[in-house]
Amino acid sequence: MDGGMIATTETLVRFSGVQKTYDGEHLVVKSLDLDIRKGEFLTLLGPSGSGKTTTLMMLAGFEVPTHGDIFIGDRPIKNTPPHKRDIGMVFQNYALFPHLTIEENVAFPLSVRGVPKAEVKERVKAALDMIKLGNLASRHPGQLSGGQQQRVALARALVFNPALVLMDEPLGALDKRLREHMQLEIKRLHETMGLTVVYVTHDQGEALTMSDRIAVFNDGIVQQIDRPDALYERPVNSFVANFIGENNVLSGVVENIEQGWARVTLDAGGSVVAQAVNIGGAGNRTSLSLRPERVAIETGDSGDSSMNRLPATLTDLIYLGDHTLAVLSTPANPEFMVKLPAGSYAGLAPGQDVYIAFRPEDCRALDPV
């Protein structure tokens, strides 16, 4: 799960107390403090309207922070126009210049920098070879497929060796197979060229596949910034737990907390032990987070007292090839999902009364939803 390239700890970009509002009433970005490390692949992930694209646009220079500043190295860039920031950007719909050929598109950032013609030619050729489109150099963007245009946009953003590359949902318009292929290609470029990439997406699968770190945005705030595995395994609040991957929620009230373990009385009856993560003190409401693959189905009482155990009725079994999804109805959650490894559902049938069992360390007590 960890990104291939080990990012250095040297900070390249720093957001310091950045706020942004468009209408003067509502903050799109509430208070952003974010360090982007040199060489890392950082993904800004969140639902639409969460502030992730605004953050990217402020970094690119197309939007000005209402408050706070952004630093590249030690240099504040609030008043630096976009063309002087030396940041490569790949746009959502590629924004290839339709009146220029592929070659001219890729040459554009070099020629506006006054790079000598011979060198431009050489570097453009190298860039087009890198994306394996050297044979299409004299075509116009309209004559290329979506995937080819995407690669040209990448080459154009990389050809001038920018300190930082921004990508704004660059794969959104591609079909699934091509998208997966491009994810690997972008990751390969990131690793071989040692790029620092800030990538915006609302597709969590994409984020998990490609990133060294992911910043989960919601409501103008970074909810959690962490490595993909940590985000999935150890979400710090209910939003992250629900946004990343499948999640089962059980609601209840905290009875007591002892050494990091919380005893929670469920609203629907029953009591479970969970990791106390984000609950405050005893008496507070909490939402328990359980990953579907961390829950077992037991047909009888195994007597293992270290496990939490709740009665449930199996309502459906959905065969999905590599695993089977069991849908259960419990008093606490009428649509409780359990992922069973392939071949391990023998003896189960819909309508059967069973128990769901899970370890306290796999159950995280988070803020109430």
Partner: protein, 431 residues
């Protein structure tokens, strides 16, 4: 039983096989065409009313106008015998006695029928004073001269009949078609020997008028482009609500008549008008500036009237240019000016082309506005066409001037079409 069933089977399969084979014989393209035919007929039916309308209101009058610019009917109609007699005359010296006799007969007949004046007017275009010669001859020639004396009788009546030019004029105007009007429209004429030469200086005005027409056309087009481009840019980049509001102001001139708008300029620009009055009141000028009945007034009023025709095509093209292009250019390191010149401007060229073509073609046909706010030296070709159709009833020359104007417009449209097509074939203009 079995045989019967076999036969039936055979009967059923045979035609199918035959049809299949027959189908394979016909090339796929022709079969496709056959299948599409019904659809094409229906489409044709739908556009038929428009085609008929265009035929009768556009194609037929246009063809009529072009025909009028070469039609030479007056002299053959009034003087058929003379035309026939001169058919084999080589144009050297004077024609023979038979031609004189034919002329005398024609003149008498036409004078009585009242058609002589029309032919006289036509011949007068070629030789100044011909009208008097012919009409006087018609008036004085009481009876057909005795055989053999036609030549001396006519020359005695009017010495002009003893000059070769009088006869070459008839021969050159003896139809059925003439290049006279078209040549005259570009200040050329034929001399007595039939060679194309420059028209006499006092008749050479049309080249200058055409040049003036194109000059005003170019000037107005350039002004519209300079004034319209920023407006179109603003409209295209504002939020829809506000751009719609501003668009109403752009279209506002369309809601008032051309005549009213032009007269409004007279009110504003005249010596006692608003502009001069304000400037005098402010003490900037001591006496009224001449703002109207000169070229300035023509440019001012025509630019105002034609500006929407530049803004609309520009706006529609600019609206389609995503702001992402300018952002992309900036992120790639282009300062705003470079980004504008290298990325934005080239993408607006289809709009610039369409707007310029539209404005220019409309401008060179302008008649009312220059007539009202221009001086004598600012009249464009249309006012001469109007003059010849309504004042002197010289349809031939009016048509020829119109034909030359049409031709130059066509050439422009073709050049534009070629350029537009050239852009298309070099690859997708839009994503």
């Amino acid at each position: 039983m079995v045989r019967k069933r076999l036969l039936r089977l055979l009967n059923r399969t045979m035609p199918m096989t035959a049809a299949f084979v027959a189908g394979a014989d016909v090339p796929l393209k022709r079969r496709l065409k056959r299948a599409e035919r019904a659809r094409q007929f229906r489409a044709l039916g739908l556009v038929l009313p428009l085609l008929a309308f265009l035929l009768f209101t556009f194609v037929v009058p246009l063809a009529g106008m072009i025909w009028k610019s070469v039609d030479d009917w007056e002299v053959p109609q009034a003087m058929p015998q003379t035309v026939a007699a001169l058919e084999h005359w080589n144009g050297q010296g004077l024609p023979d006695e038979a031609a004189f006799a034919a002329l005398a007969a024609d003149v008498r007949a036409a004078y009585d029928a009242g058609t002589l004046a029309v032919a006289a007017k036509r011949l007068n275009y070629i030789v100044n004073g011909y009208r008097t010669t012919l009409l006087a001859t018609g008036r004085k020639l009481k009876e057909q001269p005795a055989p053999g004396t036609a030549k001396e009788t006519l020359i005695a009546l009017n010495p002009a009949w003893g000059e070769r030019e009088s006869w070459t004029a008839i021969k050159s105007a003896s139809g059925p078609v003439t290049s006279y009007y078209l040549l005259a429209a570009v200040d050329l004429t034929r001399n007595a020997d039939g060679a194309i030469v420059h028209a006499p200086a006092d008749q050479s005005i049309y080249r200058e008028v055409f040049m003036r027409t194109f000059e005003i056309g170019f000037g107005v087009t350039a002004l519209c482009l300079i004034l319209g481009f920023p407006v179109a840019y603003l409209l295209a980049n504002l939020p829809t609500g506000r751009s719609n509001l501003l668009m109403i102001f752009v279209l506002l001139p369309f809601w008032t008549s051309l005549l009213v708008r032009t007269c409004a300029w007279i009110v504003i620009l005249q010596s006692e008008g608003i502009v001069n009055g304000s400037l005098e009141w402010l003490g900037i000028i001591d006496e009224p500036m001449r703002l109207i009945y000169n070229r300035f007034g023509v440019y001012m009023a025509m630019t105002h009237v034609l500006l929407p025709f530049m803004i609309l095509p520009l706006y529609s093209v600019m609206r389609g240019i995503s702001p992402a292009y300018m952002r992309a250019a900036a992120s790639l390191g282009a300062p705003p000016t470079t980004a504008f010149l290298r990325i934005y401007l080239p993408q607006t060229i289809p709009g610039i082309g369409a707007g310029c073509l539209l404005v220019f073609i409309l401008a060179i046909g302008y008649y009312i506005t220059p007539a009202l706010v221009g001086g004598a030296a600012d009249q464009m070709i249309s006012s001469f066409i109007a003059f010849y159709t309504t004042e002197t009833v010289n349809w031939g020359l009016a048509s020829a001037l119109g034909a030359v104007l049409l031709l130059s417009t066509l050439v422009l449209a073709l050049v534009y079409g070629k350029l537009a097509l050239g852009r298309q074939t070099t690859g997708g203009l839009k994503n």
